[in-house]
Structure formats: structure tokens, C-alpha cells
Symmetry: C2
Subunit: 553 residues, 2 copies
């Protein structure tokens, strides 16, 4: 079997998009899964909370699945795991912090008895015919791993999200030595992070942000509030360190900041002096220049602590004169305007606000071009699949690999669901399997689709007109109505004439139908909708959803 | 009168926002208006097409208005003029290209007999007690002006949108000599563009983009498509020049590109060789390397030519192998994701795409910090109002003025509607007048307000449930229904049980009401809505709009 079997690599998410990372490796009767993340909805996915991958392919092959290996604990790599576990029971392998963050999700989802297995960098995990080696990398969360998956046809190397940081804040430095060894041994296929593939040069070390903090903290006269990603434990560490150097206490604000930092602290990922953390209720016991608040909301999220502070709606923290606010993050594409609004609001209230346009208070967690070249050069893979990126990122990453000497035919820019089949010497495209987006709205998973979204879009643009009337079953007389109700269409007080005219139009349709002996409700409704649509469009250049309802009495 | 009268400056738009620029200057019985622009709706203004300023203050003082002076022909400075002219007949003064662009708007709005007066740089226009001097500046559209408004209490200097470009593509160089003269004469108050106040250094000259084009055009093997702003006549000129140097013909694509370029060409703002422009239908008569297409869609606008080309929906232009596509623009905040989608689509189809992350194919039209310092230093104003910017831009621009030596109390960061009152020596805040946003949706101006927007938002997030029933007027029996209709809520085929259960809940409410002798429809509707809301929230964590309708028969 193993002689003839081919290795299949099937990305079910993360290609042609940033987020929702999930990859299937299949060999004979064995399947392993790398990561299982979520992503945020596109603008047109109105009302949708999150988007998770379609795992129909896994469900159909559920007997083959040997395990899920996780590169790190970010939402776009672990966020869909609870939904997947509700359908499939899979043993999970990851580093300590990664699994601890995952467990907080399981509590929220009330998932119990999950088969969790902690691994360390350097460990090998045997899963069917696969052996997965966890290798230290750098990223904006501790305990991140690259994976070398030893398969019967060769080694598949998956970088996970990574950057090359020679001076990380704690933990292991990226294990370039092991990268080099594996490169010498021979890599069949590399899958590498393309997020920053458009950017020339190197991503700066996380430690440079600490240097910037040091100066800002030393000069601040009042309180300091720093907003950042809760999962960026290194950043939180550097804020704590700068606070301690300046004899300031640290308050945590925002649910995810408190949860994540607590987990990281309890597991020993944070180096904090006794007494540094204080409760938010004890802030008043200290002078303004003895306080640092670390808060969520660096993306301007509507319900986050920073947003509530900016709008004066936070129960415990009101802005004070001399407050220094540092937004230690860059807006994720799509969040620019929301973040800018918060910045404006904070400055209006008199705070000094430092953000990415003004100072180096954030660095990326992803490798730029020179780092990618380093990793390609060390690993010397035979085949290459750029992953984690929109098409533009995958394309430029593939050009980079080509510039380093790899033949074009050995590089595969593929889409979610596209199978690649590997032997020791060859790689080719195989069948396309089901892959795509499952929309989560409230408790509903997958019950919002194109028709629902199209209706929401229609309603959002020009609102709704309901036309309702009761008609006598026997003689087909209108016994009540037509009544016209509008929502999201026009100010009611300005629309009285409009509504009166609409009613006349509907009455005319009804009498025309009567004249022409049209008695089926479908035609009647169609005519009502059609006449009103023309009327509103001509009168107002608007196109509300029109919902004619006939009650037979 | 004029001895005691004070000069009032009242911005009605453009402060605390980018766009919708409009400023009132008032002295005694004379009012003049500077610009009258529109802006694009915020994300939460669902279904709204454009936003224009509230001009109630002008309407109340309409007898005083002597004229509208325009700095340049961009939408955020002229876009609201047709709406204003429908309520107020005001003589308009501007440069040739500015007024020509305005006239194309008047045609669309079927406005006739507008009092338009062409002025040249260096001209003075007397408007009541005001004398307005038009001064050449640089910007991303030709014929841009700064305005020196000579008033009885001193000179008010308004920069308009500007940058300092020593090598513009055509027309006048910014008249720094006149800036210096006026500075020596004495400026009472400066109002200056803050758009780029956060950015250090100088904005590059427009001509640097031409240099980039030259190399790209020389190396291109197939067609070249360049997307840019239709109003950037300089950019269009540089594309045409690069085309001519490489023996390529030029095709214009997109309505606004054709209209604006035609106007600019006919008025002599474009230097084009005979035979360079060809009709889009004649493209096939030329080889691929003889064609340049200049197109709209640089912001990823859904109906634009570039979007239609990317999605294969353009009637005349299909993408070909070897096409080089240059997006000669930067996404305006909020458009990042849309532009990125188009880029992905174009690269997927095999085109080479050059955009701002990859090469210098765009420069800003607004002054950065060093240019602002130059202008402040030449003009040496007594008072300063930073304009054209969100609060963050106004704040940093005011800090810049302070760093140059201006006392804080002479700098006014104000909001739309805030009056400032000036004598020769003093400035202070006066009353706040009505100012704000008027939403335009289709033909409706101002008929969409907060309630309508709130309903649209509600409908867009979780859709709609209509509950309709006919009840006998006399004995209060339900004679038909309750029927339940949903839109934008959940897939109908998956919701049959849900709808059946909802109907049972409504029936229960009806029978409870009957038992409790509740007979008024308002209470009945309230109870229906309440029960269903709880049910849907508990079952699905969703909150659709619920619309109970009772027909009396």
C-alpha cells in the first residue's frame, strides 16, 4: 500500500484569504489536520458573526483522521476547532499555551472530555503514517511552532505564521539550525506564510517596541493606557516591564485581556513582580503617574474596553487630563475607519494619543521578503505552496521562490479545496474537494446563506414596504386594507402623501385584477409589487423590498 | 457700521471630517461662501448615496449672500452645489476648469441659468464688503486656488486643498511670492489644509509618477491599463505622454473618465497629439503593444470600468495575457478591502498588476508637514484655524503651528457650526449655528434620518419576521392567521419547524390575551413581539425585527 500511495495535501482554508487556516494531509488511510481557524465576515456578509471552514471532506473521511496539530494559538488557527469538535472527535496536539487558550474556548462552548496532548518544541508525534515534528519559530504569540511532517514520500514543512526574531522577549528563538538540518536532509514540499510577502526588508524584532515604550513611559506625567492584542503576550510583557521600571502598577481591562493574560501568567509565560497587578477597583488608591492600564480595543471593536473609555461609557475608567494612550497595533484591513474614529474621540477628550502613524509602537508578527528568502534558502524545498494570503500575496511569494531558483512548475498557487498529489519525485494537481465558508450567526451554523444575505442587503439599502389586505374567500372582495407599513424606507411623518398614493396604486391594481378576472394570489401579488416598485423608483430612485401579503378570510 | 461690525468665520463642514468642505464668511450684511462639497456616507449610513452639508444657516440669511467662491473642482468642494442652488440662487466664482466640471453637474441635475463667473489666478472679485483674490496653488487637479479674502478687519487666507509642487505638469506653479507678499502685508487668519498633517517630510511632485510610468511603459509587452481618478488631469496627461513616447494609442474607459477628460481636453488642459485618442471600438485595429487604456475604478467602485474588467463583465475590454495594469492611486480609507479584491481578481486572471505597495505609482495632492511649515512661515498669520481634517489631523496641525511659534490661544480647533468672531486684533468663539449632515438617498434629500437608519441596521443584521392575522371586529376572534413570513432571517427550507413553533407561540399569546380580556391591539402586538423576541434569542441568539400586523375584518 505505502509504496503506491500518494501523499495528498488539501488546503481547506487560508488560501486566497487571510484567516481560516486549515490544511489536510492524507496518505493511504491516514489523515492529519494542521490548524482549524476562523475568519471575520466580509462586508457583504451582513449580520454574520464569524466564518469557519466547510469541513465536509473531513466528515466524509472521519474514520481516517488521526489528529489535529496546531501551530499556535491565534483565532485564525484555532477559532473553528470547537465547531469542528462538535461534529468530529479528534485528538489535538499543540504547545502548552496554545492548548491553554483552546481550553478557554471549550469552556465557552461547553465542550468536555477533549483529547488534548501537550507537546514541546523538538517533540515528534506519531499519527498513523505521519510523524509530526514541532519546531520553534517566532511570532506575535509565544509557543508558536513550525511543523516538519515526516511522511512516507518525504518531509512536508509548514512554517505556520512566523517571523525571524533573533531577540524575542522570552521562550525559544526560531530554530534555524533545525531548519538547516532538515533542508540538508531534503524537504519535499514547503508551505510558507505569505502574509507579508509584498513587503521588502525584514520585520523588526518585537523588542524594538519595548525600547519605544521605555522612552514614552519615562516621560509620561499621568496615567498610561496601552491598547493591544490580548494574545500578544510578548507585548503585554514589555508593557509590564516598562511599568515596573517606572514604578507603575498594572491594571488589566477587557474580558479577553484579563482571560488571556491570566492564562499566560499562571502558566509562567509572563515575568511579573509581586504586587504589580492591581485590581481595577483599587486604581484610586494610586497617583495618576503610578498607573498603567493594558486594554483591549486596539482594532476599535465596538464593545471593547478602549471604545467604551473613548465614549465615556466605561464603568471604571474615565479619561483624565494628562492621560497618555498608546495604540500598540496596526489596523487590520477593513478596520482603518473604526480605529480612526476612536483616535479622534480620544484626542477630542484631551488625551495624548500615540498610534502607528506617529511612532513605532507596533511590529508585525509575519516575515517580510528577506526573512522568506532566508527560510527558502535554508530549507531548499523541491516543491512549494505559498499559503496564508490573498491571491496577491501568494503570487508575489511564488515570484520570490522563483527568483531564488525554483522552477515555476514546482510552485503551486492553489485554491482552497484543490488537492495536490505527491510522490517522492513528483507533484501534480488532483481532484477538487468541497471547501468554502460556513457562516456563523448567533447559534446558527450554516443556516445563513446567499438568499438570506441578499435579502439583508436589500433591506439594508432601501428598507421595506409591507402591503397587507384581507380578501373574502368566496366573493374575492377586499374586506380590509390595503394597509401599507414601511420600515427603513423614509421618515413616516414626511411620507404620509407617499403612503396615501401607494395605497391608491394598490387599489388600482386590485380593481384592474378584478376587471380582468385575475383571481390567483400569485399574479395579484406580482402586480402589486411591480406597480409599487415602478412608482417608488420613479418618484424617489429607491428600491425597497416590497412584501405583499394577502389574508383569506 | 463697518467700524463696529465683526468678521465671522463659520465652517459648516470639513472640520472633524475629510470632505464636505464649506465655510461661511460674514461681515455686517454680507455673506460669502467658500466651497460647497459633499462627502461619502459612513458605514452605518446604510443605503445612503452621498452626504451634503446642512445649509439652514445660509437659508435663514439668504438675503445677505453675495457669492460662492470655489477653490477647485473636486467633489468634496463642489459636490453639494447643485443641491444648494435648488434652494438658493447664488452667483458662483471659480477658475475655468472648476466651473466647466461644475457645469457637467448642472446638466445632470437639470439646473439652468446659473450665474457662473470665470476668474483667473491673480484676479480680485468684489463681493459686498469682501474682496476675494484667487492665487495659484498646486493640487491633484489643475486650476486650484488659494483664496486671500480681503475684509474690513484684515485678510483671511484659505489655502484650499494644496501641496507645494515646484514642477507641476502644466499651468501655474504655486504662487509662493504672493504668499510672501501677503504675509508681509499681514494675515489676520489662516485656514489651511490638514489632510496630510500627520505625515512628516514633503509630498513628492506629481512629475515623479511620470518617471515611473516612463520605465513601465517602455518595458511593457502587451496592453497597458491605468486606473486613476478621472479628475486628476495631470495624471491623465502623464499617461498620455508616456503612451505617445511609446507609440501607443489611448482609449478612455468609464463615464467620468470620458466626461472629465473630454472637458479638460476641449478647454486646452491636455496636450495630446492628433490621433492619440482612439475609440474603444477601434482597439482591435491595433496590436496589443500599441494600446493604453485609461480607466476609472482605482477605488474598486462596484460599477466602475476596472471592476467590470476584473470580473469579466466589461462589454468592450476583456483581459489578455501580457496585460499590464497600473493602479495609480492609493485606497481612500475605507476602500482598502474593495481595492484589494480587485487586485486579487486581476492577478488571478494572469495580468501583471502594479499598485501602491509595489511601486511609486501615485503621489498625494496634499501638503505634508514641511510644506505646511513653509506656508505658515511665509504667511505669518495672527490667528490660525486648521481645516480639512478629522480631529486628529486638526490637532497635529495646531501643534505644528504652535511649534512654529504661534501662541496656543491664537489657534482654534473648532467644529462645524462654531462661529469665530474677529476684529483687527482679537478672535473669539461666538455662537454655534446649525450645521450637520443631510443624507441623500436616491432623489430624497434629508428624508432618511436616524430612525430609518436604525431600522435599516436592524434589518441588515438579523432580517425580519412579519406576523399577520385577521381579527373579527365584533367578537374579536382570529379569523385568519397568524401567518408568519420571514426575510433575511434564516433559510426557509431549514426553518419550517421554527416557523411552526413561532406560530404556536403567537397562538398562545392570543389565547392568553383572550383569557385576560386584553382587547387593545397595541398590547396584543407588544406581547406577540415580546414572546417571539425571547424565543428567537434563546433558540438562535438572533434578534430579527418583528412586525405584528392585525387586520380588522
Amino acid at each position: 500500500m505505502s509504496k503506491k500511495a500518494k501523499l495528498k495535501i488539501i488546503p481547506l482554508g487560508g488560501l486566497g484569504e487571510i484567516g481560516k487556516n486549515i490544511t489536510v494531509l492524507e496518505y493511504g488511510d491516514d489523515i492529519i489536520l494542521i490548524d482549524c481557524g476562523m475568519t471575520f465576515p466580509e462586508d457583504e456578509m451582513l449580520g454574520v458573526d464569524i466564518v469557519i471552514p466547510d469541513i465536509s471532506y473531513l466528515f466524509r473521511n472521519r474514520d481516517k483522521i488521526r489528529g489535529l496539530v496546531i501551530t499556535h494559538g491565534h483565532e485564525d488557527h484555532i477559532g473553528a476547532i470547537p465547531y469542528t469538535l462538535k461534529r468530529l472527535n479528534i485528538p489535538i496536539y499543540g504547545t502548552k499555551l496554545t492548548l491553554a487558550l483552546l481550553e478557554t474556548k471549550f469552556k465557552e462552548h461547553k465542550l468536555e472530555n477533549v483529547n488534548l496532548n501537550i507537546v514541546k518544541h523538538g517533540d515528534f508525534v506519531k499519527l498513523g503514517k505521519f510523524e509530526v515534528e514541532f519546531i520553534a519559530t517566532g511570532h506575535s504569540i509565544p509557543d508558536s511552532s513550525a511543523l516538519a511532517i515526516h511522511t512516507p514520500v518525504g518531509i512536508v514543512f509548514h512554517t505556520g505564521d512566523f517571523k525571524v526574531d533573533y531577540t524575542p522577549i522570552s521562550g525559544n528563538v526560531i530554530d534555524l539550525t533545525r531548519f538547516a538540518e532538515l533542508g540538508k536532509e531534503g524537504i519535499l514540499c514547503l508551505m510558507a506564510d505569505s502574509t507579508n510577502a509584498e513587503r521588502p526588508g525584514y520585520t523588526m524584532s518585537e523588542s524594538t517596541v519595548g525600547t519605544a515604550f521605555r522612552d514614552m513611559f519615562a516621560n509620561a506625567k499621568g496615567r498610561i493606557l496601552v491598547a493591544t492584542f490580548a494574545s500578544n503576550v510578548y507585548r503585554v510583557q514589555q508593557i509590564i516591564t516598562a511599568a515596573e521600571r517606572n514604578n507603575r502598577k498594572v491594571v488589566l481591562s477587557g474580558r479577553s485581556m484579563i482571560n488571556t493574560t491570566t492564562v499566560a501568567y499562571e502558566l509562567g509565560y509572563l515575568d511579573v513582580q509581586e504586587g504589580t497587578f492591581i485590581d481595577i477597583n483599587d486604581m484610586d488608591k494610586y497617583r495618576k503617574d503610578e498607573i498603567v492600564v493594558i486594554t483591549t480595543g486596539s482594532q476599535g471593536e465596538p464593545m471593547s474596553a478602549l471604545t467604551r473609555i473613548a465614549y465615556g461609557e466605561h464603568r471604571k475608567i474615565s479619561l483624565l487630563e494628562d492621560d497618555l494612550i498608546i495604540i500598540s497595533a496596526t489596523p487590520i484591513p477593513g478596520n482603518e475607519k473604526t480605529v480612526s474614529k476612536i483616535i479622534n474621540k480620544l484626542i477630542e477628550k484631551g488625551s495624548e494619543v500615540i498610534y502607528d502613524s506617529l511612532a513605532e509602537v507596533h511590529v508585525s508578527g509575519h516575515a517580510k521578503q528577506e526573512e522568506l528568502k532566508l527560510v527558502h534558502t535554508l530549507l531548499k524545498p523541491k516543491f512549494f505552496i505559498p499559503v496564508h494570503g490573498e491571491y496577491r500575496h501568494l503570487k508575489i511569494h511564488s515570484d520570490l521562490a522563483h527568483d531564488l531558483g525554483m522552477p515555476r512548475e514546482n510552485i503551486f498557487i492553489i485554491e482552497n479545496g484543490q488537492t495536490l498529489e505527491f510522490t517522492q519525485d513528483e507533484a501534480k494537481r488532483g481532484p477538487i474537494v468541497q471547501a468554502g465558508n460556513i457562516l456563523v450567526d448567533g447559534l446558527g451554523v450554516g443556516d445563513v446563506g446567499n438568499i438570506v444575505l441578499r435579502d439583508r442587503k436589500h433591506l439594508s439599502e432601501d428598507g421595506l414596504i409591507v402591503v397587507v389586505m384581507s380578501i373574502d374567500k368566496q366573493n374575492r372582495n377586499v374586506v380590509s386594507g390595503p394597509d401599507i407599513i414601511s420600515r427603513g424606507f423614509v421618515y413616516v411623518r414626511e411620507s404620509e402623501d407617499l403612503m396615501a398614493e401607494s395605497r391608491e396604486i394598490v387599489k388600482k391594481v386590485l380593481s384592474d385584477c378584478e376587471k380582468n378576472k385575475i383571481t390567483d394570489w400569485t399574479t395579484l401579488k406580482f402586480n402589486v409589487r411591480d406597480s409599487l416598485r415602478s412608482y417608488f423608483y420613479e418618484k424617489m430612485k429607491r428600491n425597497p423590498m416590497i412584501l405583499p401579503i394577502i389574508m383569506e378570510v
